[in-house]
Symmetry: C2
Subunit: 461 residues, 2 copies
């Protein structure tokens, strides 16, 4: 479909970086191909609201090709990019049915984002999933909602307590927002719905090795956030390192020694690493990478020695810029404009300059903290800013309208629109059947046979 | 949590039958326990809209325990009921983590509904899933949306055509509604978004062995529905029996002989069978069952010889009543009131009487057919009635509000709010990797290694 001789731009990933790069190329004299593993762009700042039942997947995940419908020089292909060959100038992607295909490029823009990192402890993943994709969000929602169901079924108070304890590892924005939402689920949404347990007694533990929450924010905002978290009943454990995670809890270490936190539900929001594609590019081009695998780019976001390969967003390492949406959005736009100008024969030598618009994180309804340029807001003022900013950035009018309905329902009322848990997730959970759950499954009157099964599982565990 | 000596009513299933039975027991002198396999009640008449991206799961699946929050004599436990022991008067359920537990009852109300039936051809299930649960809806949505993505990746026109052909087996309300929606996705939602294929050229084939669509409707409504389906480009194939289904298509038989319809996406809406629990009850009580496994009940909906066991909805067989929502709703209400009156010492001997409110099925936007008592509507009039009725029956104000936003978006505009496909479904699809897909995955420039893989898959298939 490429016109003979037309410049081919391939963009890997339709997150913020890829989307804004493609958008900036809308009038470029080029054939643009966007490759994305799923069929949707995810509005990452609100994905925690899918995990906690406030929004539906479709409200934060919009079809990539719908967005580029009217941009005639741009096509969208679904596929996970697994490799780049800088000599042959091709990328290799995997189609939804698992079969690989290749796409040639003249200019390559890599915006493949990050994956969860467990800092070498990959065994944690099974017990403490992270929150990077819609799949993750649906999985977390199932674990959170099902934990209360399991607690209701528990005959043993200790088992109920295990199911009512939630450990969130990592007190960055995602961890703080999840902790706040789980606290609201337990104390506002669910009370009155259970007959045997009191969901409001759920224990939410937010653990981080550093000494404050939201470490990328100002110390004042960190303090305000921590205060608010404690007020809504989150057990904030700072200076606390997680040394092990298994089916029934986490082992944590403080200066005072090691402690066991018993909890069936654990969530990991402690770290990210560059997508595996970064290593392939580094290996193939000889480009240097930082500790977390991000590629050290030139001031114009190209790979050293490869002016035809750009890296943007969470995959690039430059001037210690943080891994936030704004860096991806601005980097994507910059690269798109650079490529457009190059093709138009204009001088495009101006280096990338990041404009820090500030940070914002919501703690609970009507409460957020925001660090803007010279301005700090917390509480209701911060929350109203959060509402305005996120609503403005939400793609497409229809998502804004339905999200507003959902938010009104949840913030003014107490219910949440998206609590349905599919069996797919329940079945995935069943694979996690553990020692703890055997005493939890909680017969009202357990038969001998069931007790035998339980005994077997216990000894197997 | 049962008060000493209080009558224990156990309700199996929180579909329409179970929900309305429990509701009618709100002032009964009884302890009511609802057992349901998932955490939600599904509003089944709109589940096809989840499968086709119009509504989110949460809009048709509402938490069971939220509905019964204020009904203090009622508790909800999550579990799939696998067995009933009428002598010991206990039911056995499986908790979300797979461990069984038992619940004793004095009165049992069974409203376990139906499962998909392939009339003995269970091998069809893998290739042609049905639409009974939210899981099914999410799976179907993934197949439908991904088919267009795969077509865009196809290099071979025949492969693209296979991906752009959809076969729906069974022309009852679900089949008709799905066919209409897929036609609208292809002809209204997606055009303009693809660069290599024309989604509007998708072929939607609706197959049924009987000689009219919507066979439970009046012949006039069937004719109006068929006409409208043909107008929106659905290939309606009546008097056509499906004899085989595999990865790449379906074999159908007419009076003229056998024919092959090549199609990657097949959907089964041809039949249902009673939930497996019906057989357990029939075996344990000696109750007679009909051909599809439904239990032949007494006029008061009890199991013969067991006045303490009621069967309602799709699981009961009485006077050839159809398997529609109204039979479940009215049967559930009747049984709940019967039990309440019995406990109050009142005469509760009046047999169940079904009041037929009529049938309604939507074909496409602004077009539906409705058979009411003595009144037939089609086209826009039918559609407005459909809108009013479904909106009125949708549970909870918040779902009504957000559904209305979604419907306005889709019916007045052309987009659909819920098109995001998760990798979970894509991964499930990958298991279906077939001969056909190897020629589909469509390298723009396939490497030798990929061709080897393709060759292996071809020979393996």
């Amino acid at each position: 479909m490429t016109e003979q001789g037309q410049h081919r731009v391939v963009i890997v990933g339709a997150g913020f970086g890829g989307k804004y790069a493609a958008r900036a190329l809308r009038k470029a004299d080029a054939h643009v191909t966007i490759l994305n593993g799923t069929n949707h762009h995810v509005f990452e700042p609100l994905i925690y609201q899918v995990a906690t039942g406030l929004l539906s997947p479709g409200e934060v995940a919009t079809p990539v090709r719908e967005f580029f419908r009217g941009q005639k020089n741009t096509e969208v292909l679904q596929g996970w990019v697994t490799d780049v060959d800088p000599d042959a100038r091709t990328v290799t992607a995997t189609a939804p049915d698992g079969v690989p295909y290749q796409v040639p490029y003249d200019t390559l823009i890599v915006a493949a984002g990050t994956t969860q990192s467990y800092f070498g402890n990959d065994r944690f993943a099974e017990f403490a999933p992270g929150l990077k994709s819609i799949d993750d969000a649906v999985e977390l929602r199932a674990r959170i909602m099902s934990a209360f169901e399991m607690a209701e079924l528990a005959t043993d108070p200790a088992a109920a307590e295990r199911w009512l304890t939630f450990v969130i590892v990592g007190a960055g924005p995602t961890g703080v927002e999840l902790a706040g939402q789980i606290a609201e689920i337990a104390r506002r949404t669910l009370p009155g719905e259970y007959r045997r347990i009191d969901p409001a007694k759920a224990r939410i533990v937010l653990v981080d090795a550093v000494d404050r929450v939201l470490p990328t924010f100002s110390p004042e905002s960190s303090a305000a956030a921590e205060k608010r978290l404690r007020k809504i009943g989150v057990d904030v454990r700072l200076g606390t390192k997680v040394v092990d995670i298994d089916a029934t809890g986490a082992d944590v270490q403080t200066s005072a020694g090691t402690e066991r936190i018993t909890a069936m539900t654990k969530i990991w929001s402690a770290g990210v690493a560059a997508a595996p594609l970064a290593r392939r590019i580094a290996d193939a081009t000889g480009a240097p990478a930082d500790r977390s695998g991000r590629i050290l780019v030139e001031p114009d976001l190209t790979v050293p020695g490869h002016p035809e390969i750009f890296v943007v967003g969470d995959l690039m390492s430059l001037d210690k810029l943080p891994g936030v949406a704004q860096v991806s959005i601005q980097g994507g736009g910059y690269v798109g404009r650079t490529v457009r100008d190059r093709l138009a024969g204009k001088n495009a030598g101006k280096p990338f300059h990041y404009f820090d618009k500030g940070n914002i994180a919501t703690i609970s309804r009507f409460s957020a903290v925001a660090d803007l340029r010279g301005l700090r807001l917390s509480g209701l003022a911060g929350w109203l800013l959060w509402l305005g900013v996120h609503w403005a950035y939400l793609p497409k009018g229809r998502n804004r309208a339905s999200s507003l309905v959902r938010w009104a329902v949840a913030f003014l009322g107490r219910s949440r629109s998206e609590r349905a848990v599919t069996s797919q997730q329940i079945n995935a959970r069943a694979a996690l059947r553990t020692v703890a759950s055997t005493s939890t499954a909680a017969s009202l009157k357990q038969t001998e046979k069931d007790q035998e099964v339980a005994a077997e599982l216990t000894s197997a565990g």
